[in-house]
Amino acid sequence: MRADPQNYVKVMEEEVVKRDQIEFMAQVGAVFNMLTANALGQLEDHGLAREQSEAIRENTVENLPELLEEFERNAVANGMEVLWAADAAEACAIIKDLAVKHEVKVITKGKSMITEEIDLNHYLEEEAGVKIYEGDLGELIVQMRGTAPFHIVGPAINLNIQQIAQTLVDNIGMEYTEEATEIAGNVRDFMRRQFEQADMGITGVNMAVASTGSIVLVENEGNIRWSTGAPRVHVAVMSLEKVAANTADAFHIMDMLSRSCTGQGMTSYVSVINGPKDAGERDGAEKMYVVILDNGRSKIYADEELRQALRCIRCGRCFIACPVYLTVGAYPYGWCYPGPMGAVISPLLLGLDDTYHIYEACTLCGGCESVCPAGIKHVEMFHHYRAMKAAGNETFGASRGSALERAGFKGWAAAVKNPALFEKSMGLLRFYLGLGSEEGQVHKMPGPLKAWSDYRDLPRAEKTFRQYWAEWQKTGKAENEAAAKADEGGRDNE
């Protein structure tokens, strides 16, 4: 999909008032919190397993160039063709050329966020005149409705059964039903016909294994296996951080991914693909390509502080730990990556100026990092982005922040460093707040503080702490000490 993060506030204002959606997402969050907690709890030592997955991702990202080269060597030896794409345009052009070369008319897809990132579907439909069907049920529904995925793992998670049924009535001629199994059956029949006639399957990559040159794909519906096994040509698209040193690392990550994502010990389908089919084999593609996409990630890798953004394994666990995502939904983020996961990666890929709402509309509550199996320190990252924006950063698209804000903080810092000035400012603030207050609560506030008082009151205690302390020093201290001693004696006797 095309990125549009600048419209965050406008879209957010439309979404944040949808109390039904918020209520529903709260329930979704609660259910998945329980499922994932159970699945992780079943591990013999969850803490250790998480430390391992964090360490694996950290080490992998540290050694990214070497691991990618090793993967390429082994994948080529397995008969795959590896193609490198510097950016979205190059990746799209590469895949279009492959479609033309192999005379492709119909493409089926396995659910893949990376193809959303490069907006591949639109490009291929417009430039190569092919017909593309998303194979994942949720993604297919989203494709038919022409909206962005609501969640990287559950793209249609926000839709109710009526909306889903109607979408399928309108698009695949299904007879209206609200029976989930009937709906799934209808889609299964429809998709089966597409898989059978498809010339090319396009999938993402959950993990590329450097030591074996194979790719690992996990799913629950079978659409990925169809797309990799039935069409003549298979194109797997991966962003360059989706690599693991060896099979043990890859499967530990897949284990943590499944548990953190859907609360499963293992997904229904796990495919390990070692290359195109050999002579005499019945299933598999005749030609297999792996497209490795950079699209700004080398720049992230080059920065030691920001590099941890590449550890993400796309499990989606952080989404349901994010109060902001659960309240505003996916659409305000304006791209395929919403939630905390998107708030970490999108600003670096799209530029800090264009995405500042994404990392500023965050309470820094740390819910995301408390559950991240890849060990990303989200709060630290959002601190970095805010600092980069304030100071300016050419590499990641931050022009120097507002001069007014800078002057404001400079003045504020001067006051903070000067107790007399600080006390005066505090007195001034209390005076202004006092104008709109009664009985220790402020109801109306001026200027930017109006955003507060439009929705809630503000306590304004009768005295500042300093005033209280000065009085307590004079009178209260002696009394309290006597009372404490008497009380101490009383307790000893109990």
Partner: protein, 247 residues
């Protein structure tokens, strides 16, 4: 008597002086000898959160100079403690001696409930309350400092107090400092959800232990549900001491 240096956040000083006063009442009732450096102002968290790191570093160095001779520093704000403990060493990284001083200071700064339970071994402050309360788990106390059981241990020892389960107790109330001013619609929706959960708990008082949450939830309740109340943990304990100190 053990000396305790008070780290009173600027927002408490300016707007919630009563919370600071309750901190004094509670700690002195427990026999601690209190010190308050009057030159203390703000820990700089707003500058850290807004990314104005030069201002934040300036303030951090000043804070360290003020407090670094104290053995025990206690604050009724986990959020501000987190700034000193976790942000200062990061901010001053690479400034050799300053980083070391920040780290050394961080080890002596305590969030109030953590100090009482883990530092001083006090779970029963000798308070009683006849009624139902609920407890909101502030983000920075729970996740940034890893303090979970300590506030509840203190509350569990309040004679007569019934603690009602609170749905989504660990979810953010939507304060977030400048977030509340920049994104008031999201912030007010989050505090509305927090309030709904509190009302459903059936408790009379929602106990919070960070001043930011108190500003937000307390202010929202005062506007929309004036019959219900949010209260800082330290105020709840201090105002319900059996001897009547501070009552």
């Amino acid at each position: 008597m053990q000396k305790v240096s008070l780290f009173i956040p600027c927002a408490v000083d300016a707007l919630m002086g009563d919370v600071g006063a309750d901190t004094v009442e509670l700690l002195s009732s427990l026999g601690f000898d209190l010190i308050y450096h009057e030159e203390q102002t703000c820990c700089g968290q707003p500058a850290v959160s807004a990314g104005h790191l030069e201002a934040a570093r300036d303030i951090a160095r000043r804070f360290i100079e003020i407090f670094e001779d104290d053995e025990i520093i206690v604050s009724p704000s986990g959020s501000c403690v987190n700034t000193v403990k976790n942000d200062y060493p990061r901010l001053l990284a690479g400034e050799g001696d300053w980083q070391r001083r920040a780290e050394a200071l961080g080890e002596r700064v305590w969030e109030l409930s953590q100090f009482l339970v883990d530092g001083a071994g006090i779970e029963d402050v000798n308070a009683a309350f006849a009624g139902k309360i609920a407890y909101h788990k502030s983000c920075h106390i729970l996740r940034a400092l890893g303090i979970d059981e300590q506030p509840l241990k203190l509350l569990n020892h309040v004679q007569g107090a019934e603690i009602a389960p609170l749905n989504a107790a660990e979810v953010c109330c939507g304060f977030g400092g400048q977030f509340a001013l920049k994104y008031p619609l999201i912030s007010s929706t989050l505090v509305d959800i927090k309030t709904e959960n509190f009302l459903k708990s059936g408790a009379d008082i929602l106990i919070v232990s960070d001043p930011g949450c108190l500003l937000n939830i307390g202010g929202y309740l005062h506007r929309h549900h004036p019959d219900r109340q949010a209260m800082h943990l330290v105020s709840f304990l201090a105002r319900n001491l059996k001897g009547g100190v501070g009552a």
